[in-house]
């Protein structure tokens, strides 16, 4: 405590943002070695920011409600994909198609989210691992429905979507009818770099929604629930209901996020797209300096930017640095998982230390050494 207050502030800033700072350093080394042009990188970052931000933003509300990282957001992604399958079947294109897909996805996502919320309420204290397994479980149900139900129980008109055996959706669904519709809805080019303005407007709108939502009664209830379950309960907040609502909102938003993501990508990997959505979104958020208990809008954008910067840069950097792109490829997979483990460990560690300290305080000065 001897150092000046300014030094302390810097120290605190570094400690709080250790993860983004490390990432920035690693990426800048990567950028140097990857030999990409600035133009390419900026374009790539803008595209990816537009593509992924919405998905990552959908994670914020459950964190506020104290339910940790919502690995169950893949349920929402599945709902979004089902909506997309239907509109490509009916061949409805453009913004109408996207809106219709979102409309179809909404009730499904509400249903999934409600289910997820009920399950998580039964597994209090281990929400993250439960939502994670729930994602796997629902992946099985989704496959059952899409691979066996679609085309047999659910009528699919377009034979191009269906596997040659007569039912089940093909591995890859082409989304040509909505590819880039939102990104190109408002044309804007700055110095040869295409800016997906409409998507950014939508994301901005959504950020405003989150800021507003935090101030509502429901938002305040959620924060109280996140702080302390039993205190919130005795204050008369319907705790279980609030938790379910937070998961429902997150799931619905994840569905929209997945639709936005896929309209940019342009192809739907029917059986894989949703699996990656969760892992990448969560890793991005954590890279942005969020923790399991605290996440802000700023964390989202920093995270998406830094995470995807590394994602773009690492294969080429690996190739020029060690002569093997494969190593860079594996490196980014490793970083993706390592960053999640690190964040989880740090969070659990801190919580554990807090608990110990609270107990030591109860015991008084003498027992402090335990």
């Amino acid at each position: 405590m001897k150092s000046s207050s300014g030094g302390n502030a810097v120290k605190l800033f570094c400690m709080r943002n250790a993860v983004p700072i490390v990432f920035l350093l690693v990426s800048s080394v990567g950028i140097y070695y990857s030999q990409f042009t600035a133009e390419y990188l900026i374009q790539e970052m803008l595209t990816r920011l537009a593509r992924n931000s919405f998905l990552v933003l959908s994670l914020l509300i459950p964190i506020m409600a104290g339910m940790g990282l919502n690995f169950g957001m893949v349920l929402g992604a599945m709902a979004g994909q089902i909506g997309l399958i239907f509109i490509s079947d009916w061949n409805i294109s453009g913004l109408y198609g996207m809106t219709l897909a979102a409309l179809i996805a909404t009730p499904l996502a509400i249903l999934f989210g409600w289910m997820c919320g009920v399950v998580l309420n039964k597994a209090r204290g281990r929400e993250m691992v439960t939502s994670y397994i729930l994602g796997f479980f629902m992946n099985g149900v989704y496959q059952l429905a899409v691979l066996y139900g679609f085309g047999s129980l659910v009528p699919i008109l377009n034979p191009e979507l269906v596997l040659s055996r007569g039912y089940g959706i093909r591995n890859v669904t082409n989304l040509d009818n909505i590819r880039g519709t939102l990104d190109n809805a408002i044309e804007l080019e700055i110095m040869g770099i295409h800016v997906p303005l409409a998507t950014f407007l939508l994301i901005g709108l959504f950020c405003a929604f989150i800021v507003w939502f935090r101030r509502t009664k429901l938002g305040q209830d959620m924060r109280a629930t996140g702080q302390d379950l039993s205190v919130a309960h005795s204050a008369g907040i319907p705790v279980m209901r609030t938790r379910i609502i937070s998961i429902v909102i997150s799931t619905v938003l994840a569905a929209y996020g997945q639709i936005i993501f896929l309209q940019n990508v342009g192809t739907l990997n029917t059986y894989n797209s949703h699996e990656q959505a969760g892992v990448f979104a969560i890793a991005s958020l954590l890279v942005g300096g969020a923790t399991v208990a605290r996440a802000s809008i700023l964390n989202v954008f920093t995270g998406v930017l830094l995470f995807h910067l590394m994602f773009v840069v690492s294969p080429m950097a690996g190739k020029y640095l060690v002569g093997d792109a494969q190593i860079g490829e594996y490196f980014r997979v490793f970083v993706c998982y390592a960053i999640i483990s690190l964040a989880l460990v740090l969070h659990a560690w801190r919580r554990h230390a807090d608990k110990e300290r609270a107990r030591a305080a109860l015991r008084g000065e003498a027992g402090g050494a335990a």
Binding site: M128, F334, W349
Partner: protein, 347 residues
């Protein structure tokens, strides 16, 4: 009637449904043209292959560290042992034991570090274990490319460096343990006696260990940490020991698996291997806090039985292969059931 009710309550609906499902599969099999002897033999072989991996869950569950989703860490130790034994060109039973011998110190060191980590994060073990497993597999993907192995049986032919995705052990120790005193009945029924004996030996040792002073202390730590501390048990030491044991059994488990399977699967191979093992243990009647050897044996048999029987039976009945989907739903449904049940009992 009461006894039946009590039995159902204790075993839980999902387990009974799964057992009934398996029995139905075996009953239906002959009528849809699936040869029962081959199916049974397959089930037994897979049971032996996966048994040790499921057994590796027990110490950690007993000491209160939860389900070992970090099993890939142990598997990696086993893989390193296996790959090194192939590099040394060790063959037959000595080959398998060389692999195990090399894997042991690696597993102990990795398990020790993993145990220390889990001691720092009590209450969040399972989520962190999952990601420790994932990141270690991803890290090893880099290592497999870089490690200086040079045996022509294992490295990529054209580059001369980096291990292949799958390494065959056919010339070295394929079925070295399985074939000890193995016998055939008819054409299709093969019984891997050696593998069963090895699995039962490990089960027996574990059973005895759980009844020693240390084993009892470990169980106490899991079921009532405060009581354990009051009795003078060092909680963290017991937990670390259990994690080391689990990791080591995981290493042995994967070697047993490989010698029967005939291939060493590197890179992303071990990525998802924890989940079937966890599901098998839970199907056998274990919970997140309690697991016994009987749970291991029953669970592995039921789970592997379903995995073997569903593709063949459902295929012949519906002309489609739904086995993958059924596997996903059954195994994750089972884990989900166990996770949501624990808190219900507690509150």
């Amino acid at each position: 009637m009461n006894r039946i009710k009590k039995f159902i309550e204790e075993a839980g609906w999902p387990r009974i449904l799964i057992a009934v499902f398996l029995v139905v599969l075996f009953l239906v099999a002959p009528f849809v043209g699936v040869p029962v002897d081959a199916a049974l033999s397959d089930t037994l072989v897979r049971f032996g292959m996966n048994g040790v991996l499921v057994l590796a869950m027990v110490p950690m569950v007993q000491s209160g560290c939860g389900l070992n989703f970090g099993l890939p860490l142990g598997i990696i130790a086993g893989l390193l042992g296996a790959v090194t034994s192939v590099e040394l060109e060790a063959k037959g039973i000595p080959g398998v034991f060389t692999a195990m011998l090399i894997a042991t110190p690696i597993a102990v060191v990795l398990g020790w570090g993993y145990g220390l980590l889990l001691n720092k994060v009590k209450g969040e073990e399972m989520m962190i274990a999952t990601y420790v497993g994932f990141s270690s597999v991803a890290f090893m993907c880099i290592m497999w490319l870089v490690l200086p192995y040079s045996s022509s049986n294992m490295v990529w032919g054209y580059a001369g460096v980096g291990l292949r995705t799958t390494v065959s052990v056919e010339e070295f120790w394929q079925r070295a343990i399985s074939d000890v005193a193995a016998f055939n009945i008819g054409d299709a029924f093969y019984f891997p006696t050696g593998m069963f004996l090895f699995f039962l030996l490990l089960c027996g040792v574990m059973w005895i260990f759980m009844r020693t002073r240390t084993g009892t202390a470990m169980t106490t730590v899991g079921s009532n940490p405060d009581y354990a501390r009051a009795s003078g048990v060092n909680i963290n030491r017991m937990r670390t020991l259990s994690v080391i044991l689990s990791t080591w059994l995981g290493a042995l488990g994967i070697i047993v698996y490989e010698q029967s399977f005939g291939f060493i699967q590197l890179y992303m191979g071990p990525f998802m291997m924890a989940f079937p093992a966890v599901a098998a243990l839970l199907i056998g009647g274990a919970s997140v806090k309690k697991a016994s050897i009987v749970n291991v044996i029953v669970g592995t048999f039921l789970f592997q039985g379903i995995l073997t029987m569903t593709p063949s039976v459902i295929n012949s009945m519906l002309q489609t292969d739904m086995s993958e989907v059924i596997r996903i739903i059954v195994s994750n449904g089972m884990i989900l059931y166990a996770l949501t049940r624990v808190t219900k009992v507690r509150s």
